[in-house]
Amino acid sequence: MSAEQKSPQQSAVDELYDEAEHWNLNTGEETIHAKRMGGLWRNIKWLSASVWILFFIAPYLRWGDRQAILFDIPNRQFHILNTTILPQDFWMLSLLLLFFALLLAVSTALAGRIYCGYFCFQTVWTDVFTWLDEKLEGTAPKRRKLDKAKLDFAKFRIKFTKHLIWLLISVLTGISFVAWFYDAFDLWSDFFNLQAGSTAYGTIALFTVGTYVLAGYMREQACFWLCPYARIQGVMVDNTTLVPTYDFKRGEPRGRIVKGQSEDERTTGDCVDCKQCIAVCPTGVDIRHGQQEGCITCGLCIDACDLVMEKLDRPKGLIRYESLDVLEGGENRPLLKRPRVWVYGLIMSAALAGIGYGLSTLDALELKVIHARQPLFVLLSNGSIQNKYTLKVLNKMTKDVPVKITATGPEGLILVDADGITAKHGKVTPRTVFLRVPKSNLKGENTPIIFQVEGEESGEVFVGTRKSVFIGPKY
């Protein structure tokens, strides 16, 4: 088929192909060596990334005679400052997860992938690794050249140092992670004495390899192909979302500066096609094609372009945080008029309220009651009905406490086998007890009863109660 007589179908397809040509995804065949430069967003990025310093130092904070924050999995308890959370309180964890899931949703709806660009460990570690690249190997063109160069002693020395530091950071990352679950000071001594146990070593090894590979090699490819959030967040963005955007109205038609031409005679838009925005992008995106899946909204291209505009005396913000609506001449809907903000906000407040409630009602002494199912009741030879219960006394205090169990219910109720219980600290102490009620005192099949546990520790009396039921025969 010759070019002159293209069918309409053919030209439609050709258009698609044209489009696809611009759709350039780097699938890892090329290492991205992004240019690094200063700027407003660069500084903000360092600031937000510094949150991760906590990850490294928090395990060394102490609270009394133990680690301030310790997720003690072998003993099944979490210590957070003075609070101890046992498996029984784990519903709060699901609320916490819900809260953070929605925090991600709401922040993405408002400002795109700010989590990706500023906080995500993949971004932050990669950023630190590339900072090292720059320190050790030089600027982006130098790095590219070094990659291509033959392996000689100089190259070997540079690469060796770099990989050694990468590895050190990776091991440190692994140890720091484990230190949240393992007394941090013990961990260091156990680690070097080969006493830390296979779980600890395994986890450290996993994190070491993970950090080394993900931050050293995978980098933006992890965001492209591995990370589920990257894809989920794509659907949370809408026309009102603020994301780094190239102002095509101002910029196009782009064109290089013509020597000797004055600004007034210029026929081109503001973009001088210097490609600085691409050069700095850690994921190799050309933002001038619009927001796209590779962009982690880190804002570095904004810094790059602003610098160019400053030099040329053109107004800054050719690339800026902007929503599609505004760019297309509309206005941004005020925050409070967006239903998503309300819905997300409501769910988040509910989750927070639940956690607050949970933390404020963490009793020192808790009682759980399990009514035996088989049989539900038995008739005794003196005419009483007997029910069997398993009581579980949870003691969150730091000492074993002798406890007194009482039960209230219908008249003539007798509690059997509930004496002499000592609730072990940090544990659930089970006890099987029986309740007996004269059959004539039962009004119906089910009678509500209340169990109470009472214990004293350092002069303070702790009480836990639990409702249950006494079951009798049908009439």
Partner: protein, 283 residues
Amino acid sequence: MADNNPFPGENNTGHIWDDNIRELANPPPRWWMIAFWASIAWFLGYGVLYPMYPIGQKPTEGVMGWTQIKEYQEGLDEVVAVRAEFENQLKDMSAKDILANPGLADYTVASVKVLFGDICAPCHGGGGQGGPGFPVLADDDWLFGGTVETIEQTIAMGRKGIMTAHGKILSDDEADKLADAIAAGNPTSDPNFLQKGCIACHGMDGKGMQMLGSANLTDGIYRFVPGEGESIKDSVKQTILHGVNDVTDPQTREAVMPSFGDRLSKDEIKKLAVYVYKFGGGQ
């Protein structure tokens, strides 16, 4: 072929069909190749470490010497080792001593639960709730006694209740009246209770004799629970007329507890006795 390739420079293999459909020689992405070789390396390594290659009759053993049975045995040994501490103590203790020691009693209940489920629960129910024709173990009405020793004896030796069928010496009307009195929990109110010799086994007061395994007829707890659509009285009358384990009467009640002395160890029986005792009716 390479010389007249109509699509030069696109890295095709030279295989071209229908003018323009051609096979390209693009390598798979690097990560894919890495994963590909890594899985092969994994496979080979696994085969060295673990049993795998079927050579001859048996697969290769693997240098780690791991087998499923071995792992199972190790797990089992671990359990036995944990239990040993308690089991050694239990060995020389009587059931009564065990009951007096809360920690050991708890251990006993926890550790023998499975055995109870295997051996006893089919008739007596998982919680000792009994079943049609099988006595409740969770109440305090015992035919042969509710001390832990008698329970132990019952498990070891078995039990067999005996009551002759009274259909021949009682008219239907008399049996009816007697059943009424028993169902009301007051057997002695019927003169026949004395005259027809019920007292010989059930006692002057009708409260039964554990030596004989005769039932207490006054406490409203019945060895033979009424079946579907039956009243308590109907079922009592049935027992009076046809007896229990009376070979001369084909309609007699069957009530046999088999002996487990030759099937279970002494320690197991002891532990089961403690378990049954702890259902809540032990005396």
